[in-house]
């Protein structure tokens, strides 16, 4: 177990966005966080990465309590993440975008970019890349930053089917290298295909944790998605 949440809650303007959330993410596995819109998935990600402070509860990375730490400290503790709406540094080159994550040689940068099928020159300004390529650049940047846990918020959103297939290979390769991946995803085919564990979130609560096969058969999960 690399990440654990115990009774984590967060209220926004009277609404419980996250409600006594409990789950664990295991090392060297691909874990997916799914749930209907408004289930609190992104809030959970933001709390883990320090962008939102939980009202209560404890978050541990390995044995370290990271609850309420500043985002940059959590990043340095070993959590690297991407965003649902891609956050690249628009006016910086591909190289400079990567260098913000870590000091690295051009060779090291190119190796990572190549591993995720990104083939634009290093001097390209990020705002000149297509949206799909910006997403890949953001992923590459997250990979370059030293980390023990990689968190991806909807990696397939807005990317073309080719990149989507490539992403599956990328994530499987990461797992092969011993990396731990935790992602939010809407694309069920994608989730069921690559995940080792699926966590279903509904109304800020964990509804079900299990292997993909168990999740697709679960009635409660179906109800949450389809509405009662």
């Amino acid at each position: 177990m690399i990440l654990s949440l115990k009774n984590v809650s967060k209220t926004f303007g009277g609404v419980k966005a996250v409600n006594k959330c409990i789950f664990e993410v295991e090392e060297n596995k691909i874990t997916s966080l799914i749930g209907p819109n408004g289930a609190g998935k992104t809030t959970v990600f933001n709390i883990i990465s320090g962008l939102a402070e939980p009202d209560s509860g404890i978050i541990r990375l390995g044995s370290k309590n990271i609850t309420g730490l500043a985002a940059h400290k959590i990043a340095k503790s070993g959590i690297s993440r991407t965003f649902q709406l891609t956050k690249v540094f628009r006016n910086l080159s591909v190289r400079d975008n990567m260098l913000i994550a870590k000091k690295a040689s051009d060779d090291e940068i190119k190796r990572i970019l190549k591993s995720i099928y990104f083939d634009k020159p290093l001097d390209t300004i990020a705002s000149e890349l297509s949206y799909g390529q910006q997403r890949l650049l953001e992923l590459a940047r997250a990979l370059l930053m030293p980390h023990s846990l990689l968190m991806l918020d909807e990696p397939t959103a807005g990317v073309n089917p080719k990149i989507r297939q490539e992403l599956k290979t990328i994530l499987r390769n990461l797992r092969k290298e011993g990396k731990t991946v935790f992602l939010i995803e809407h694309d069920m085919e994608f989730v069921m295909d690559i995940s080792d564990t699926v966590i279903v979130l509904n109304e800020g609560k964990v509804l079900k944790v299990g292997k993909p096969k168990e999740i697709v058969k679960d009635r409660k999960v179906l109800e949450a998605y389809l509405g009662k």
Partner: protein
């Protein structure tokens, strides 16, 4: 006459360029729209005047006044850079009016509206002073080129483009924003000190918004996040604005202006206000600019 004017022009332009580059570091490179930047120029000028008038040698007065400006900048940044939305601009603009009020009313220190006359020059001869300022200018340009291309400079730019992404990449954005303002206000203070040793006088009008708008128009004309832009902006607009000084030599206009000398100042202000508004609408990136904030 021409000789004197040339020295005057170059001195002013070199000093303005140091201000505009330092302003650009905060606004263009880090995305911190510090509307109170000229307050730190004024702090540098007042500090230098007071130190020099109390007998401190220039090699002590000049660096100390830059440090005093930087320290004030650091303290104010520590209090304000976390403010969200428009509040950072609001508070920094507020600083201008606090500075005006303090400089007018803290009479035991600033002599209020009378100002501080008789600041001793660094060199008796303005040509030598110009060479000295040129050296400081050259070092500042080299420093800003180096800084903005360094790892730290890239982090400033990353924060400008996306603060959240910078923080999840392990960057303490609060610290870097304070650092940027501190460096920026250091050079503003340095410029203020060089300025006051040249014109030998300082009073509360140094905080006037007109002066700020002139510096702002030079920044925008040159372009944000570009050091060569700041240099180009000051030189082109500087020539333009200084030439307006000579409109009283134009036949016909000269008779009108002789009766209404205040028209010269007013027309200068109107001209660069119109330039800056025109640029912001039609050429927001200026001559060399790469970004907008």
């Amino acid at each position: 006459m021409i000789h004197d004017f040339l020295i005057y022009f170059l001195l002013i332009v070199l000093i303005y360029t140091i201000i505009v580059m330092s302003f650009n570091l905060a606004v263009g490179f880090t995305g911190l729209v510090n509307l109170g930047h000229m307050v730190f120029f004024g702090i540098g000028a007042y500090a230098s005047a007071l130190l020099a008038l109390s007998g401190a040698p220039w090699y002590l007065a000049v660096p100390s006044s830059a440090l005093i400006a930087a320290l004030s900048g650091a303290i104010i940044a520590a209090l304000t850079v976390r403010l969200k939305g428009d509040y950072f601009q609001i508070v920094t603009l507020g600083l201008v009016f606090i500075a005006v009020t303090l400089s007018r009313n803290w009479i035991s220190l600033t002599r209020g509206a009378l100002g501080l006359p008789g600041v001793p020059p660094i060199f008796k001869d303005s040509l030598h002073y110009m060479i000295f300022v040129m050296a400081v200018f050259a070092l500042s340009v080299i420093f800003f080129y180096w800084l903005t291309n360094s790892g730290t400079g890239k982090i400033f730019q990353a924060i400008r483009d996306d603060e959240t992404a910078s923080s999840v990449l392990g960057k303490n954005t609060y610290f870097y924003k304070i650092l940027s303002i501190t460096i920026s206000t250091f050079f503003a203070g340095l410029a203020g000190s060089l300025f006051v040793h040249y014109i030998k006088f300082v009073d509360p009008t140094i905080f006037d918004l007109e002066f700020f708008v002139l510096i702002l128009s030079m920044l925008i004309a040159g372009g944000l996040a570009s050091i060569q832009g700041s240099i180009a902006g000051v030189f082109t607009l500087g020539i333009f604005v200084e030439l307006i000084r000579f409109i009283d030599r134009v036949p016909l206009l000269s008779t009108v202006l002789a009766q209404h000398p205040e028209l010269i100042g007013a027309s200068r202000t109107m001209v660069y206000s119109v330039i800056v508004i025109y640029l912001l609408i039609f050429r927001p990136r200026g001559i060399f600019g790469r970004v907008e904030v």
